[in-house]
């Protein structure tokens, strides 16, 4: 199970497919992401990026193929088991607990999979280790000043920062970000990009993003998807030079 070379891969996707009825959203996609790499996944709308995300996290079952997380076959493991192995994700549309505080949101993420949910009588604030971790994550995502704010009263930008914090609070080894900057103003976007850039380097990053500035700024390598298949893969410079990619996706301004 744990073979030598595979342990250097955070994620290995081997000919994975996924269809919805007659529509093949993902067709035999293969993708390897080494530990510590920051990989961007780009492609036009409907290319199958988010579907691939959902298959990797286990929210959708794969129709075929094999997925390995840090050298372990996870193809048939549940969402929870994958989360326990160090896989965390953010959502394109924030999935937050709107009427709870930032602190409570982060605590729920930090205490997930720690067998604490049936502790009935001890106040959650007395769990020092989790509490410390919540403060640390809040600092990483720039929310220290908002710990006691109710999430529904935060700006969209701060909510996106919390969405990132929720994933970070799960102590991920592989972090998957689905359009982290969706709908942000230019200032908010700058803040979020620098937060992502300053995340610990040992966390492997897989990132879906439409904004090329962000992709070129953050990614070590880029995988381009189109119509459910991988079109190209390479360094930002290689992808920029690739004519086919330019044709389907980038447009002439990045040539």
């Amino acid at each position: 199970m744990m073979t030598g070379p595979d342990q250097k891969l955070a994620l290995s996707i081997q000919s994975v497919s996924k269809s919805f009825g007659g529509v093949q959203a993902v067709r035999s996609v293969s993708l390897d992401v080494p530990v510590g790499e920051r990989r961007a996944l780009i492609g036009p709308n409907g290319a199958g990026k988010t579907t691939l995300f959902n298959v990797v996290t286990g929210e959708l079952p794969a129709d075929g193929g094999r997925i390995e997380l840090f050298g372990v076959d996870i193809t048939h493991k549940s969402v929870q088991e994958r989360a326990k192995m160090g896989l965390a994700r953010t959502y394109q549309i924030s999935q937050l607990f709107l009427h709870l505080t930032v602190e409570q949101n982060l605590f729920l993420a930090a205490s997930a999979n720690r067998n604490m949910e049936f502790h009935l009588l001890r106040p959650w604030r007395r769990y020092r280790a989790e509490q410390e971790w919540v403060f640390q994550v809040a600092e990483q995502v720039g929310l220290t000043d908002y710990l006691h704010a109710v999430v529904s009263e935060l700006s969209h930008g701060l909510q996106r920062q919390l969405e990132l914090g929720m994933a970070m609070a799960m102590r991920p080894r592989l972090l998957m970000l689905d359009e982290p900057a969706a709908g942000l103003s230019p200032t908010e976007r700058t803040t979020l990009i620098s937060l992502i850039r300053n995340l610990p380097r040992e966390i492997t990053l897989l990132l879906i993003e439409h904004n090329m500035e962000i992709v070129l700024d953050l990614a070590d390598r880029i995988t381009v998807m189109n119509r459910g298949t991988v079109l190209a893969e390479g360094t930002p410079a290689e992808i920029r030079a690739n004519e086919e990619v330019q044709r389907v996706y980038l447009g002439s301004s990045y040539a």
Binding site: T57, E59, V79, Q80, A83, K84, Q95, L96, F97, L98, H99, L100, Q104, F107, L108, A109, S111, A112, N113, M116, E117, F118, H119, L120, L121, R122, P123, W124, R125, Y127, M170
Partner: protein
């Protein structure tokens, strides 16, 4: 600074005064007042049961009155009629409640929102229909009457003051335990499920079982309320578990403020006293209680506690604003600090 100190001191002082007034009630209150307070406590248990599910877990249940009635029927059938001594009928009653809650919970907790409400409604109605139609065991419409409380450790709970004190202790203990539960990681997880069950599942929480445990806890509280009710009123019959009582409990929770821990308690207190006071003047008191409910909810969806909180917050802002204005004036050397401090500052600003 002084204000903060004052508000910090005010809370424990008010609580202590309230506690003393409650404990000393039998020494200054009439028999009728004691009875009203015992009713507030046993219906309070029912409201707390409904309020815990609604406020903490986002589950609207119409089946809590069935659990409320089950312990009563167990005591009527086993204790009153068969002469089985205390506490066995009571414990068997609690056991029946937990088994019934397990069965209803396993089925209904797969669903959310309106579907959950309909399944709990159905179960409540089945219990009610069974109680009305079963004449051999449960005596149909007439039920059991004349049930008397027990004597324990030489204390006669047929004395209403003694019964009141026991109920008060049980209620305080029950609320303290529930307070701990609400503020535990379990309580927080339940809040997370109320807000976003899908995300909780993605985080790896056993959403179904957390809701299940919450449902059992709520059923237990309703069952305990039912024990107190049957002993004090001496009566258990189908009207106790009628749908109208289930809806009453829900309205009371909303009246008090469903998102507040104390909402169900405040709601029960206000609703029962309103009934008592208005029924002295008119037979149609329910009409007026209903009107008051509509008015409160119209102006404050967060109920009575929502109104109190917003008033306190505004007052607080007003007082701190005034203090700040005063200090600013004193600092700027004006000696008109006593007169219209707010306007002076505005002119200068």
């Amino acid at each position: 600074m002084n204000l903060d100190k004052l508000t910090r001191l005010a809370k424990p002082i008010l609580l202590a005064i309230g506690a003393i007034l409650l404990i000393a009630l039998p020494f200054y209150g009439s028999q009728y007042t004691i009875t009203t307070f015992v009713r507030i406590i046993y219906f309070g248990f029912l409201a707390v049961s409904v309020g815990f599910l609604l406020g903490q877990g986002g589950m609207i249940s119409l089946t809590q009155t069935a659990f409320f009635g089950m312990t009563g029927y167990a005591i009527g059938l086993l204790g009153y009629e068969r002469g089985i001594p205390f506490p066995w009928p009571d414990l068997i009653g609690i056991g029946i409640v937990l088994i019934a809650a397990t069965l209803v919970g396993l089925v209904s907790l797969r669903t959310y929102g309106l579907t959950f409400l309909m399944i709990t409604l159905a179960f409540g109605q089945v219990c009610w229909a069974f109680a009305t139609q079963n004449t051999t065991l449960l005596h149909g419409w007439s039920g059991f009457r004349g049930i008397r409380p027990f004597v324990l450790f030489g204390i006669d709970f047929r004395n209403s003051a003694n019964f009141y004190w026991m109920s008060l202790v049980l209620f305080a203990l029950g609320l303290y335990i529930l307070w701990r539960i609400v503020h535990s990681p379990f309580g927080l997880a339940l809040n997370g499920i109320r807000e976003n069950p899908r995300r909780m599942r993605a985080l790896g929480y056993p959403v179904y079982w957390i809701r299940f445990v919450a449902f059992l806890i709520a059923a237990l509280y309703a069952g305990i309320g039912g024990i107190l009710a049957v002993y004090y009123s001496g009566l258990i019959a189908p009207p106790t578990i009628h749908l109208s009582r289930a809806i009453w409990a829900l309205l009371v929770v909303i009246l008090g403020g469903s998102s507040y821990f104390w909402g169900p308690v405040v709601g029960t207190f206000v609703a029962i006293w309103l009934e008592v006071l208005i029924s002295q003047y008119t037979q149609r008191y329910l009409l007026f209680v209903g009107l008051i409910f509509v008015i409160v909810v119209l102006f404050s969806p967060q109920g009575i506690l929502g109104i109190i909180e917003s008033v306190l917050r505004k007052r607080h802002l007003w007082i701190t604003g005034w203090l700040k204005a005063r200090t600013a004036l004193v600092a700027s050397g004006s000696d008109k600090a006593e007169e219209r401090p707010g306007k002076e500052v505005m002119k200068k600003g």
